[in-house]
């Protein structure tokens, strides 16, 4: 894993990038995102098992785009998110130096097509814990699921950590912030929370790269990632498409097949 840090150093020192976005030691045993813009800030970069955040959330930010070309230390989830962002035309192809890290190996990628090829080498696997949680939800009956989510969502205070940590939630003007007309109540009361999480789930169905950062970000521990990951899995089961795998936009909900199969429309 030192290799990625070594390469990041070279890129910055040779002036090929203006900043390196990676991980650094944080409070206690935590890891945090770290921007190194001068050689002196490179020493803080670390790469280990505790580095999990999807750093792609930063690459669409105006403040980060203004830095110039950035090298990103990219785990598989970050790679998928970057590819999806390029497919959605939120990121110019070639605007990043991608230091792809997979099981300790490092590969430098500089284009959407290179990312697509690289990601095709290894199948995307849902982690065991989320898989089990989704199965638990599936096993509940309708009333139990309603009770489960109502209890969980009652803690939501609409801090929007789940939205803001999501690489795919890049809209400058989120539908949550629209008030003419106002679809979803601003207040974090029962109906406001329910509708917010339904809308978030629908907006990410077919676009979610399944990093789980939304769930990790929640300060009050609501497993909101099960909603988005669940919806993404639904899209995959129904239509065979996945977010973050194609350089050309492959969004399941902006296309159709005449023989799409369902059994509930009368």
């Amino acid at each position: 894993m030192e290799a990625v840090i070594q390469r990041a150093k070279e890129l910055l020192e040779q002036g090929e990038v203006k900043a390196v976005l990676g991980y650094a030691k944080g409070t206690g045993s935590a890891r945090r995102p770290h921007f190194a813009r001068q050689a002196g800030q490179l020493d803080k970069l670390v790469m280990d098992e505790a580095c999990v955040q999807n750093l792609a959330v930063y690459v669409t930010k105006h403040e980060v785009k203004k830095l110039g070309k950035v090298a990103v230390v990219a785990l598989p989830v970050t790679q998928r998110a970057i590819l999806q962002l390029m497919a959605e035309r939120q990121l110019r192809d070639g605007s990043l130096a991608i230091l792809a890290v997979d099981d300790g190996a490092v590969k430098e990628l500089d284009s959407a097509s290179a990312l697509e090829e690289h990601l095709a080498l290894k199948a995307q696997v849902l982690n065991a814990k989320d898989k089990a949680s989704l199965a638990d939800l599936e096993a509940m009956d309708q009333g139990q699921r309603w009770a489960y989510w109502q209890k969980e969502l009652s803690r939501c205070m609409k801090c929007y950590a789940c939205r803001n940590t999501c690489p795919m939630c890049y809209c400058d003007h989120c539908t949550m912030d629209c008030n003419r007309p106002q679809w979803v109540p601003v207040a974090s009361h029962g109906i406001g929370n329910l509708e917010y999480h339904m809308v978030r789930t629908m907006h990410l169905a077919g676009r979610c790269v399944e990093c789980g950062d939304c769930g990790r970000a929640c300060p009050v521990g609501i497993p909101v990632h099960l909603l988005t990951i669940g919806a993404e899995e639904t899209v995959h089961e129904l239509f065979g498409q996945r977010a973050g795998h194609k350089a050309k936009l492959d969004y399941a909900l902006s296309t159709f097949k005449t023989d799409d199969k369902e059994s509930f429309i009368r």
């Binding site: 409070t27 955040q53 980060v64 609409k158 974090s188």
Partner: protein
Amino acid sequence: MANTYNLSHESLKGLFGSLRRDGRRILAPVDAAGRVELGEVEAPSQVAADYLQTILSAKEVAFPKVERLLSYTIAPGRVDLKDAEPRALPTVLFGVRPCEAKAFGALDAVFNWDYRDKFFNARMEQLAVIGLSCTKADEACFCTSVGGGPADATGSDILLTPIEGGYLAEVCTEKGAAIRALAPDLFRPGNGVDKAAIAAKVQQAFDQPALTSQLPGMFENEVWADQALRCIGCGACAFVCPTCVCFDIQEEADPKKGERLRCWDSCGFHQFTLHASGHNPREVQGARWRQRVYHKFSYYPERYDMLGCVGCGKCTRACPVDMNLKEHLIEAAGVKA
């Protein structure tokens, strides 16, 4: 001047009973599936056994995340307006940390500044705080840098400090004395315990008065944009903060009826200062982060003669990207003008 007593574990159980017989609900940190949050309890055994702090602050007891201010109905030719009455239940907040107890003062400064907020005040009048001194701290804590301490009694009506067999109980206010009066026999004469020896050791991290005096001169310093580069602009820090007091007023209405709600808001949000014209005086996250620091460490002292931060570290623990406030303040304090 505080009167000091001894309160045994057994006596505390009795005190909980007395408080409940007096018609008060007791809110205390409870363990909810690994998270420590405030919950209603009947006996000390239900209080979380081992906790540093709750995730959320206790502010929601006096300043809930959503509260109704008024409601109305509209009929042809008339509008019937109804003021909401705050649901203020007699409440004892048990086991909150000294930093959080102190934080109610910062809320009070705003809610009773140029206007007396009836909702906040009604709840505060019904609220008594039994604080609990800290015997441990973590890397996010910095109470001693902002004028507090792990055994500081400010804001507590009664402050308990764990000792062998029970607690040292300092009755600090009239509300505290009223609680003692419910069961005076439970409070035994206290001995000369050295609180400081029991309390957690929290090193002073930075020179706050110096920081406050240099902040006006470093508004344009690039340190704020640098620190905010990894901030994702959510409201987690503000919503868990015991002193963050900003709110939004929302009208939820249809043509026949409506209600006005007060909801928590955060200066970290892009929309917080967005004008109707489209202009945003705090266009970038660096400006919003600076506002957060300045409000707590410059504008609060200037306006209310107190700090808007108690050093509890909740924001640091809640932050999805590990924005460590203590670390950032140390860095800001180290900036040479």
